[in-house]
């Protein structure tokens, strides 16, 4: 994808066609069809918060969607470098920062989503694997009550019409 390889080169190469020096590096995996940086902040935060409603898949989708942000290092406004962070901290001591879109870099949301997804997948898969591999030897007669195909038969879920 050319977009992430030479973001800066583009602004230098053809001055007669580029009207403004806004770096055209897209934070979403869709590239130019996806969100702009301002929208990405709100979307990332929203996905992160909704993921807490027992939706680890939403966290995974969040990480997938904002993959360029996680991967590359050239998003100065979204992923502040160390200098920017220290500047921001000093600044915030002197002035109360309003909640501007970049006062809280949204990389936190994405990293949080990734961590959340990892943790919940670990929990779920360990439980599921224990259940399926352990089977009746481990659980006893409770296994038959919990396994899905028996439960579906008992509740008549597949005899639908």
């Amino acid at each position: 994808m050319e977009t992430s390889h030479n973001p800066n080169a583009n602004t230098n190469s053809n001055p007669n066609t580029i009207t403004s020096p806004i770096p055209v590096l897209w934070p979403t995996i869709d590239g130019s069809l996806g969100l702009s940086e301002e929208e990405s902040v709100s979307y990332a935060r929203r996905f992160y918060k909704f993921g807490f409603a027992l939706l680890p898949f939403l966290w995974a989708v969040n990480c997938f969607y904002f993959w360029p942000v996680l991967r590359s290092r050239s998003f100065p406004r979204i992923r502040p470098s160390f200098q920017t962070v220290t500047l921001m901290l000093e600044f915030s001591r002197s002035i109360t920062l309003e909640d501007t879109p970049f006062s809280r870099p949204f990389i936190i949301d994405i990293v949080g989503s990734a961590i959340g997804f990892g943790v919940s997948m670990a929990i779920i898969s360990s439980w599921a694997l224990t259940f399926s591999i352990g089977g009746e030897r481990l659980f006893g007669p409770v296994w038959d009550k919990l396994v899905m195909y028996n439960l579906a038969d008992k509740l008549g879920l597949t005899g639908w019409s």
């Binding site: 009207t19 995996i29 869709d30 069809l33 969100l35 929208e39 997938f64 259940f131 899905m148 019409s161």
Partner: protein, 437 residues
């Protein structure tokens, strides 16, 4: 930087667009065929039917005579089409009374039901068939995740294009599988009736779908609908411009230029997804914006001009109450049986849009063919893809929204019966006698 990008040929641009719409249709059909082969080979009778609106008039049983089945099937399909017409008119009425929010939430709810319940049922069938030792908690969590993210992806918010497209194909697959559980004669009669209905509803001036789109265009609003939009093909020959500013602009102009002036709109951007689902009918041909790619190829002249994408008609994009937040998603319309508006058209970025109803009924046809034999599957698949190609060509010629069902369904049905009656005998005899050619 390298300035020498070679000009994109017509094959790359046009072929790419066609492939991007044929590929998901093929994937949907393929998955339905797989589901049908897996799940129906184990089931006892082919009359394990599904009671629904589609069988309300007559429920087929294996002991009836052919004439009874035929009449029953006709009645069923007439009832079904009548229900769909009513539901669409109801939707037109609601849209006219500006209850768009209600429609949107109803669509979200029905998508959740489809993904959750139908998806759950089919997952349970598969679990029983393969005896997968999954427990109920994991299953419920997984199902809930699947359904919730699906609703978000398709309706509520903008998400990765791949995720949205994948969920649309999945919804089409689930509903199509459910429809293949109908009795056989009813299915065929239903397909024919729906093809005729689609033709009427989209092309006649009194058709509900056409009314809907006219309303939407006249109000510059968005229709809630489930529509699959292919990713627009990036034109490498356009001038790269600043994307961010242009993106948020919402075009409101009506198409005063109702004929096609082949003037390409230069380098403005559009969100491929933001499209207003000025979806099915009417003149929803797009304003072709070549999407600027940050390529280093800068060309002053136009380069390859694609006939479809150069239509000068502007699609009124959405702007829900002045909020320029792009809604990537299309909301569906209608009840569960009537989820999608059929039809094919062009989105604002020149990408082709295909209603989800088309996905569903193509897959129903192929699924039904799979219940007989794989030979009919191949024949019907080729017929449907040919029909889709013809429809796309017509779309390029007429530059307005067209019904995508009639041509493909007609070809598919014709070839199904021809294959079943004539080709099969021939091929089987050849194979038995080891005659290859």
């Amino acid at each position: 930087m390298a300035e020498n990008k070679k000009p994109t040929s017509i094959l790359e641009s046009l072929g790419e667009e066609i492939v991007r719409i044929v590929a998901p249709v093929s994937i949907c059909m393929f998955m339905v065929v797989i589901l049908v082969s897996i799940l129906n080979s184990n089931s006892s009778s082919s009359y394990a039917t599904v009671g629904s609106i589609a069988t309300i008039a007559y429920n087929e049983s294996s002991s009836d005579t052919s004439w009874d089945k035929f009449i029953g099937a006709l009645l069923n399909s007439l009832v079904f089409v009548a229900v769909i017409t009513l539901a669409t008119f109801l939707m037109v009425l609601l849209f006219y009374l500006r209850c768009v929010k209600f429609l949107k939430y109803y669509m979200g709810f029905s998508a959740f039901v489809v993904l959750g319940f139908l998806g759950g049922e089919i997952a349970l069938f598969l679990i029983e068939d393969f005896s997968i030792p999954i427990d109920c908690f994991t299953f419920l969590v997984a199902l809930f995740n699947f359904a919730a993210v699906g609703v978000l992806a398709v309706f509520m918010s903008k998400m990765a294009i791949l995720v949205t497209q994948g969920y649309l194909v999945l919804i089409g697959m689930l509903v199509a599988y459910w429809f293949t559980l109908l009795p056989e004669w009813t299915t065929w009669a239903l397909l024919v009736a729906l093809a005729v209905y689609d033709l009427a509803a989209v092309l006649l001036p009194v058709g509900p779908l056409r009314l809907l789109v006219e309303l939407a265009i006249s109000r510059d609003e968005d229709i809630p609908a489930l529509v699959y939009e292919a990713r627009p093909v990036v034109n490498h020959d356009s001038n790269p411009r600043d994307l961010v500013q242009r993106r948020m602009r919402v075009w409101r102009e009506r198409n005063e230029t109702s004929d096609n002036r082949p003037v390409a709109v230069p380098d403005s951007v559009s969100d491929g997804n933001v499209v207003s689902e000025s979806n099915v009918d009417e003149i929803e041909t797009s304003n072709s914006y070549p999407i600027p790619i940050i390529s280093t190829a800068v060309r002053a002249e136009e380069g390859e001009v694609h006939p479809i994408r150069n239509a000068e008609l502007l699609v009124p994009l959405i702007d829900n109450g002045g909020n320029v937040q792009p809604h990537g998603v299309a909301e569906a319309s209608g009840s569960n049986e009537n989820l999608m508006l059929e039809g094919i058209g062009l989105g604002s970025s020149g990408a082709i849009k295909l209603g989800l109803g088309d996905f569903i009924f193509y897959s129903v046809l192929v699924g039904r063919a799979a219940m007989y034999d794989y030979m009919t599957v191949y024949a019907c698949y080729l017929a449907i893809v040919a029909g889709l190609g013809i429809t796309l060509m017509l779309l390029a010629i007429y530059q307005k929204a067209l019904p995508a069902l009639p041509v493909s369904i007609a070809l598919g049905i014709v070839f199904y019966f021809l294959t079943r009656l004539f080709l099969e005998v021939f091929v089987v005899q050849c194979s038995l006698n080891l005659l290859m050619f």
